[in-house]
């Protein structure tokens, strides 16, 4: 029972973590909370549905299609809506992200209607038994794919040239550009990776819960944002940790009989962490040299 609930929690948490990574990376580099991020996750799920329903793609191809499409979408949104405002006051940009979010939700509502759509069968669901423990193959796939994506991300950030540029840009945006880093390319790349991860999360959640709707990004986005802050916003391992913790906390809250307060659990956790450790679990206090 306990182990089973831990698996439930980790599965849910892994999807939160995938979305949280996008929030945290964008914040790390341009100090922007991108509220449209949850909606990119939603679009990713819809593209996944379309890939299976229209082109009968298999699971990995579906995942790749959704990720690729959202890379294009994320980079386009950044180029069209955010880049022109980069030198404007921070608040303008924040409000723009809310605008983009509402645009994407309404767009999908007009296109597909507000009713939730099922995800066409793409993964065989087999129940796996290990001792007394039973879990579904879908849960296993979600965990494995999420871990693989996160490991991949860590590799890119730690060992590639563009990753180095991202880290430099997150340390000091202006100095990095003075050192010859093409800051526009770095930001574009950040949005691309963040959107790809969100799309993967969307497809996985779509398959897991078998339900995709235009407003699914709202709560998921908020929860992922909480996860990012929980782990320390701007910090990549922090977002993963925050996501997993949030998933576990939610599932155990429900298991303990507090289903009614399910959504409140995330925010209660956030308030507690912010009171005790304002920079989040793995966040470092920001030091500004004058």
């Amino acid at each position: 029972m306990l182990l089973q609930q831990i698996i439930n929690g980790l599965t849910l948490g892994a999807t939160y973590a995938l979305i949280a990574l996008g929030y945290t990376m964008v914040y790390g580099i341009i100090q922007l909370i991108n509220f449209a991020h949850g909606d990119i996750y939603m679009i990713g799920a819809f593209i996944g549905v379309a890939a299976v329903a229209l082109f009968h793609q298999n699971f990995f191809l579906t995942l790749a299609t959704a990720m690729l499409a959202c890379v294009v979408l994320g980079m386009t949104i950044e180029r069209v809506a955010y880049r022109p405002l980069r030198r404007a006051p921070r608040l303008n940009l924040l409000i723009t992200t809310i605008g983009v979010s509402i645009f994407l939700e309404t767009f999908m509502t007009v296109l597909k209607g507000p009713q939730p759509t099922g995800f066409p069968p793409v993964l065989k669901n087999v129940t796996l038994r290990v001792g007394t423990l039973e879990f579904s193959s879908i849960q296993l796939v979600i965990l494995l794919v999420s871990v693989a994506l996160m490991v991949g991300l860590q590799f890119i950030v730690k060992y590639t040239k563009i990753g180095k540029a991202m880290r430099a840009a997150s340390e000091d945006y202006d100095t990095a550009s003075l050192m010859g880093i093409n800051i526009n390319r770095v930001i574009s790349f950040t949005f691309a990776i963040g959107s790809a991860l969100a799309a993967a999360g969307g497809v996985l959640v779509g398959i897991y819960f078998n339900s995709v709707s235009p407003y699914m990004g709202v709560t998921a986005g908020l929860k992922a944002f909480v996860a990012a802050v929980l782990g320390g916003i701007g910090n990549i391992p922090g977002a993963m940790l925050g996501g997993l913790l949030l998933g576990l906390a939610e599932v155990f809250g429900v298991a303990a009989g507090f289903s009614t307060y399910k959504d409140a659990i995330a925010f209660t956790l956030l308030i507690i962490i912010l009171l005790v450790r304002p920079t989040g679990l793995l966040g470092r206090p920001i030091q500004r040299k004058v």
């Binding site: 089973q4 849910l12 099922g118 298991a255």
Partner: protein
């Protein structure tokens, strides 16, 4: 600079035209307003329900039934020499919009009666408004408790949970052998909370044991924790009192965790969305309803209704909501004829006196407290991604 000036002049001209056109439109509608309501040559009956959003499939069907009834009545010359006109509205399944929609229909459209809402929660929201404005509210779907208590203008024409759930419980316990049951309630849904209470009482009466109580919320997607707990409790079956969206997803999770359990629930589960989301997992799920399109065993008026509905809807069979929507308008028309008045304060008393009315959705009697008693209860089963009739259960008249 010149270009700008030209553009400005054009823009201001456009604005003036738009303003004039806008005013013209407004005077037009206000003229209609005065003519409308019971005083003109039409009788306006409002439809309250959702045409979009989570509950849309109830509302769309109710409205279809209402329109068919209006058409039938108007073909025979209308009611008291006046045509019936259905005023449509859509609250988009939103609690906040529902009250506004009712207000609008009463004050602007001047309806004499409102049919709706298909859900208990929103009917309770609309009832005080209708009662205050002395407009008859006849819900063609609300089955939860505490509706007609809200005032003497408030009615409903559906099979009540208090009548149906005990009949179904009897069947589940004695025929299917469900001695241990898990109950799942959606806690932010009035209908579900009320139905759970009725099932709990009925189960206690039949000496069945409730081994697990789980709560979910409308809009939830992740039920893994609840299902894991149900698995621990080892019930014979699941009674699910919520709506179809969550019901389908919940059963999906039940199968995902390798449980071979069936679900039974009220007509909140009655929608094709149930298997669109649940797929194979909802095969064998049971849903009770006051109406089932069963041309073979139906009463004559029901058979005719089914035929007419099929002709207008690509041979699709009508569901409970379209049948009750049809009956709702017919009941109102009958009451108006009997009272010889379109004044809600008069025809409401005639409506309350309805006894053994042979509606298309079953035989209906209003008890002295205006609660309807209908017979029989149909227990449907999902078979090959369709609802098929499993059993027609007789009902008992509850003590009023």
């Amino acid at each position: 600079m010149k270009k700008y000036k030209v553009a400005l002049v054009l823009l201001s001209m456009l604005l003036v035209i738009a303003l004039v056109a806008g005013c013209g439109g407004k005077t037009g509608t206000s003229g209609d307003e005065n003519k409308g309501g019971a005083s003109g040559d039409t009788i306006k009956i409002g439809f309250m329900g959702a045409l979009t959003g989570n509950e849309a499939s109830y509302g769309i069907e109710t409205l279809k039934g209402m329109k068919m009834a209006a058409e039938d009545l108007n073909k025979e010359g209308g009611v008291l020499g006046k045509k019936i006109e259905i005023v449509e509205s859509d609250h988009g399944s939103k609690q906040t919009e529902a009250a506004a929609v009712v207000q609008k229909m009463i004050s602007k459209d001047r309806v004499v009666a409102i049919v709706g809402d298909p859900t208990t929660g929103k009917t309770k929201l609309a009832a005080p408004i209708c009662q205050q404005n002395k407009v008859v509210l006849l819900s063609a779907g609300a089955v939860g408790p505490g509706v007609v208590e809200l005032g003497d203008y408030i009615f409903r024409d559906t099979l009540l949970d208090a009548v149906a759930a005990p009949a179904v419980t009897d069947y589940l316990v004695n025929k299917l052998g469900w001695k241990k049951v898990a109950i799942v309630t959606s806690t932010n849904n009035d209908y579900s909370v009320g139905l759970t209470k009725i099932f709990e009482e009925a189960l206690a009466k039949h000496n069945a044991q409730i081994v697990d109580r789980e709560s979910i919320q409308d809009g939830d997607q992740d039920f893994s924790a609840q299902v894991t707990r149900i698995k621990q409790a080892r019930p014979d079956g699941i009674i699910f009192t919520g709506y179809y969206t969550e019901g389908g997803l919940f059963m999906k999770e039940v199968r995902k965790q390798g449980l071979d359990l069936k679900m039974a629930g009220g007509d909140g589960l009655l929608s094709p969305v149930l298997w669109k989301l649940g797929g194979d997992a909802v095969e064998g799920s049971m849903v009770y309803t006051g109406f089932a399109a069963d041309p073979a065993n139906a009463a004559p008026q029901t058979r005719e209704f089914i035929k007419k509905y099929q002709a207008a809807n690509d041979n699709k069979l009508p569901d409970m909501f379209s049948a009750q929507g049809y009956d709702a308008v017919m009941l109102l028309a009958r009451a108006m004829k009997e009272a010889n008045s379109t004044d809600p304060s008069k025809f409401k008393d005639a409506l309350a006196k309805t006894r053994d009315y042979p509606g298309v959705s079953g035989t209906l009697t209003f008890l002295p407290n205006r609660e309807p008693v209908k017979s029989p209860v149909y227990l449907l089963e999902v078979k090959n991604q369709q609802f098929s009739i499993k059993e027609a259960l007789p009902t008992e008249v509850p003590k009023a």
